[in-house]
């Protein structure tokens, strides 16, 4: 193996590809003033900033629209049979249809209340994240606030181990269990050891921690939100 460049390959490369006769390429050699150095970087920085702002103006609406669309799809997925929903905000331990004046909507925990065609409230969807095997697992799930029955679950974000932990959203059999209207609180059990008790979820073999995290997120989420929901859901403005 000959002259394989080492980690300081930049230096090696300079020698390797130096072009003494390449015409207009020779860098200016004379001493330049500090002012010119600063000016060069300032101009370059300003141009770079301008370019980024222009592209951001163009891409931001597309990105926001995509995110909103994804959230909407997820809400309809975890609240089966729902034809529309409205977003409520958790303000001072109670639900509110409006955020206090001057506050940003994204600063408040949000609950999505779903209604069917007849205007009947079908369930509430909330999202919650907890530490999984690798990183925070973010889950959105829907449930009936009165009975505590789970309606559906979708993993929004996870970095769980490919091939093992990622089965919490890739293994359809596992996911389907959350759509079979189990009674909460759920209990993650070893697959096949179920006694038919309500709320049993067969954990994924080889991904027990990831499975338990999903169950824990749902249990803790419902425990946190039910008292708030019991205080009443604000009426819709007519």
């Amino acid at each position: 193996m000959k002259e394989r460049p080492e980690s300081d390959a930049i230096e090696v490369q300079v020698v390797d590809t130096l072009q003494p006769d390449s015409g207009d390429g020779a860098p200016v050699e004379e001493q330049v003033s500090t002012l010119r150095l600063v000016a060069t970087l300032a101009v370059a920085g300003a141009l770079a900033g301008l370019l980024i702002v222009l592209v951001n103006l163009h891409t931001k609406p597309i990105i926001d629209e995509y995110k909103a669309e994804q959230l909407k799809l997820a809400i309809y997925e975890v609240l089966p049979g729902v034809s529309r929903y409205r977003t409520l905000y958790q303000v001072d331990g109670a639900l509110s249809a409006e955020v206090p004046a001057g506050a940003k909507a994204t600063d408040f925990r949000q609950a999505y209340v779903g209604y069917d065609d007849a205007g009947q409230m079908k369930g509430v969807a909330v999202s919650r994240g907890e530490s999984g095997f690798q990183d925070i697992v973010q889950v959105i799930f829907g449930f009936e606030p009165d009975s505590g029955v789970l309606l559906g679950m979708k993993v929004l974000d996870s970095k769980e181990t490919p091939g093992l932990g990622d089965k919490i959203f890739k293994d359809q059999d596992f996911v389907d269990q959350f759509f079979a209207r189990p009674q909460t609180p759920l209990a993650a059990i070893k697959a096949g050891s179920g006694k038919g008790a309500p709320g049993e979820i067969d954990a994924i073999t080889g991904a027990t921690i990831s499975s338990k995290v999903v169950v824990s997120i749902i249990n803790n989420g419902i425990a946190e939100w039910r008292p708030i929901l019991e205080k009443g859901i604000p009426e819709e403005a007519q």
Partner: protein, 209 residues
């Protein structure tokens, strides 16, 4: 020191000075995001875009950049294009953007790109810098696709999401994990080394290569 022809500028980066497999530059993305061919392709495309744009821009404005601040200027140019690539991927390929995550932003510190600017674009014409960037970009893409293909086939049993084996295939999960990246890179470099040695031995014996 020697001079090169434009075609050599182009070819060099693809094989003889392949950035990943020979120069060992840009290994971070090569190890981190090559668990599937799709991710490898998205990363290659983003890197290719940044490399070509930076090379063209830097070779055209090199006269105006004092040599004392050239590295900062190059990084500024590269970072700008990376940010643009990041925003555009997020807007037009959100699924891939989510998979690649932070590694898009880390293209800024891919030493392969800075290396080409310092070694080539800063002292060559726009045309030849573009050829060099395209060649290097293709070399980078080839290396990443090789790794991505190898790891996806063994680790998931698919190629470009197309299942290759029957349902009884048991995936080697380790291949899509970081350890599989190191193993794959090691084996590919080993294979290249053996290939080069054989070629040298043949040439030494005066046979036709």
């Amino acid at each position: 020191m020697r001079t090169t022809t434009p075609s050599e500028d182009f070819i060099r980066g693809i094989w003889r000075e392949n950035p990943v497999l020979i120069q060992m530059l840009g290994l971070c993305p090569a190890l981190a995001v090559t668990n599937t061919v799709k991710n490898a392709l998205a990363m290659s495309a983003a890197t290719f875009f940044v490399l070509c744009c930076s090379s063209v821009l830097i070779s055209s404005v090199k006269r105006f950049i004092p040599k004392e601040v050239r590295i900062s200027s190059y990084i500024l140019v590269i970072a700008t294009f990376v940010t643009l690539a990041d925003m555009m991927l997020q807007a037009y390929a959100p699924v891939q953007h989510k998979e690649l995550g932070a590694f898009i932003a880390l293209i800024v510190v891919n030493c392969m790109i800075l290396g080409r600017q310092e070694a080539f674009s800063s002292r060559n014409t726009v045309y030849r810098s573009l050829l060099d960037a395209v060649g290097t970009g293709i070399g980078f893409t080839i290396a990443l696709i090789m790794m991505g293909g190898f790891r996806e086939i063994l680790g998931i049993g698919t190629f470009f999401d197309i299942p290759l084996f029957g349902p009884n295939f048991e995936p080697w999960v380790v291949m899509v994990l970081p350890a599989g990246g190191f193993l794959t890179l090691g084996f590919i470099i080993l294979a290249m080394g053996v290939f080069e040695e054989r070629k040298k031995a043949r040439e030494a014996h005066g046979e036709a290569p």
